[in-house]
């Protein structure tokens, strides 16, 4: 694992092949808990991305100085520090969103995805790659969260990106859409069981899509070989 993976490889891995949520199934708690709306998912995703990038960079930079006995505590302290910073900042500048995401900001600390990337990637690779890895992992996480939030919000409440202005400011209020008439959504979807259901279906969907892609590439390869 010491040879550096290509940038393309890291990007593809983080966004699709090994998407934290859909592929590795890490960081599930925030995924489930905050995705009753797309906006919440976006907010959580962005906050986590910030922490991921910063923690990857820090840990990669310090990796030579960390010994095994205290490796996990040191990583966790670093991550906790970053999370606290994000927590404080959101409290100060995005107070409304902060109220919604609540305890889950703090729980980014133990979001297994963050520590997972720290251990699996950042502690073994140079800073620049680690930063990229953090970024794509975070973006992959965000995409998954927004997708889940969107599905649950539309089917459960009939809206999309409700309250987007709290996160993105009034300019983005246009994102807020009412997809179905008021009070017609299936409550199941925004209640806890709906979260599990949607994630299950998303993973199955991703698998199906991957299969289609594989088939297509195989076909292309066959065609190329025939030429």
């Amino acid at each position: 694992m010491s040879d550096s993976p290509s940038l393309r490889h890291i990007t593809r891995d983080g966004l699709w092949d090994n998407n934290v949520v859909l592929g590795q199934m890490l960081g599930l708690c925030p995924t489930m808990a905050v995705t009753s709306s797309a906006t919440n998912g976006l907010g959580m995703g962005l906050a986590t991305t910030a922490v991921l990038v910063l923690s990857n960079v820090l840990i990669s930079a310090l990796r030579a100085w960390v010994v095994d006995a205290v490796r996990i505590p040191v990583f966790i302290v670093l991550i906790a520090g970053l999370v606290t910073l994000v927590d404080i900042s959101m409290n100060a500048w995005f107070h409304d969103l902060y109220k919604v995401l609540g305890i889950f900001i703090a729980l980014i600390v133990v979001n297994c995805a963050v520590l997972g990337r720290a251990e699996a990637f950042a502690s073994r690779h140079p800073v620049s790659l680690a930063a990229l890895d953090g970024l794509v992992t975070g973006v992959g996480f965000t995409v998954a969260l927004v997708a889940m939030g969107a599905v649950r919000e539309i089917t459960g409440a009939g809206t999309l990106f409700a309250n987007a202005h709290l996160l993105l400011g009034q300019h983005f209020a246009f994102l807020e859409t009412k997809v179905l008439p008021a009070d017609t959504g299936a409550l199941y979807m925004i209640l806890p069981p709906g979260g599990f259901l949607v994630l299950g279906l998303l993973i199955a969907g991703r698998r199906w899509l991957q299969k289609q892609i594989d088939k297509r590439t195989a076909d292309v390869a066959v065609a190329a070989a025939a030429h």
Partner: protein, 357 residues
């Protein structure tokens, strides 16, 4: 070596899966017809729509899965799921509710697990409970009984079925819902119950779902299945005991707060649950001890949820909860093996002294 290998036994019963499912439907028929009598055309249409949807969704899933649809459709399990789902819906629910419930029951409750025999939760109850959680208003709107006498006709059925809403004149409250509401208001139980007489539970002349009203016919159907040895008595008895024993104790200690056991038994889906739902083979344990635990647990949970929980009716949740324990019961409540102790050790060598002279 090339000749086919036949393992023993070389004889089998004549009973088949399809027969079993058919027999259960036969047992349900009287109570269902009584329901049609009480709730009229809308109830009949909803029943039909739900069953047809279940069979259709089953066929679609089999098609997608690339399996031969016909032999599986003919086993009748999808139709039975639809039937039981229809029996547990409000009889005047709009048709789309039946279709959606069927989709949930068959697709999410059954086919993603691999179809008949593989699902771990009772499909009909999955369908009903998801609907209840999703659409609590629609799922708790009941109508007065004796609809045919009041002259409902097909046009009303179509109007209700297409989502036109239920005319106010017909709406009513189920006993459990009514009692829960009134207890919530602080109305003493006896007063809350005054609108209901026990006899209504027996002949079905009171608000409720299709299958929960005519208790006598439900029990008769259940006993028919017992006589035909399609179901055993353990699950029905265990369920009834699990529900009635705590109810009797609680009612004796605080009659103003707890319904009497008979009211519990004759209301909601208790009897349908005991004889037709908790007995679903696929999702209940197969060992005798497991079945007792399962049934008593389901009855007890039903009572708990009805008496303390947020939902007026608990049979669906209780069955699903006990479904979740089924694999563990199958593992941990296995029958004692002949010649072994309960822990699986060989019995000690032992003889009957009294026979030796």
């Amino acid at each position: 070596m090339n000749a086919p290998v036949y393992a023993s036994p070389h004889a089998v019963t004549t009973r088949t899966t399809r027969q079993i499912m058919g027999m259960v439907m036969l047992a349900l028929a009287p109570a269902t017809v009584a329901g049609f009598w009480q709730f009229g055309w809308p109830a009949f249409c909803l029943w039909l729509v739900t069953i047809l949807s279940c069979v259709t969704f089953e066929a679609i899933c089999l098609q997608i899965g690339g399996r031969r649809a016909m032999p599986v459709l003919l086993d009748g399990s999808a139709a039975l799921t639809g039937w039981l789902l229809a029996l547990s819906l409000p009889p005047w629910a709009p048709w789309w509710l039946g279709v959606l419930g069927a989709a949930i029951a068959i697709v999410i409750g059954k086919q993603v697990f691999g179809g008949l025999g593989c699902n771990v939760f009772n499909p009909a109850m999955v369908g009903r409970t998801v609907l209840l959680v999703s659409f609590p208003v629609l799922m708790t709107q009941w109508v007065n009984p004796q609809m045919l006498a009041q002259g409902t006709d097909l046009s009303l059925a179509v109007q209700v079925g297409l989502g036109g809403g239920i005319p106010d004149a017909y709406t009513s409250a189920s006993l459990l819902g009514h009692v829960k509401t009134d207890l919530g208001r602080g109305v003493p139980l006896l007063e809350a119950m005054s609108a209901f007489t026990p006899g209504q539970g027996l002949d079905g002349s009171r608000a409720g779902s299709l299958g929960e009203t005519a208790s006598l016919l439900v029990v008769a159907g259940g006993l028919f299945l017992v006589a035909k040895r399609i179901i055993g008595l353990r699950i029905p008895l265990g369920f009834i005991a699990g529900l009635c024993v705590p109810a009797a104790i609680a009612h004796a200690s605080a009659p103003d707060h707890f319904l009497p056991p008979l009211a519990h038994l004759l209301s909601g889906g208790a009897l349908l649950g005991a004889f037709f739902i908790a007995t679903d083979y696929v999702t209940s344990p197969s060992s005798p001890a497991g079945q007792w635990i399962f049934a008593i647990g389901a009855g007890l949970l039903t009572w708990l949820i009805r008496s303390w929980g947020g939902y007026p009716e608990g049979v669906g949740f209780a069955v699903l909860l006990m479904n979740a324990t089924t694999p563990l019961l199958d593992l941990w409540a296995r029958p004692r093996i002949f010649g072994r102790s309960l822990t699986g050790r060989s019995l000690p060598a032992r003889r009957r002294q009294e026979f030796i002279r």
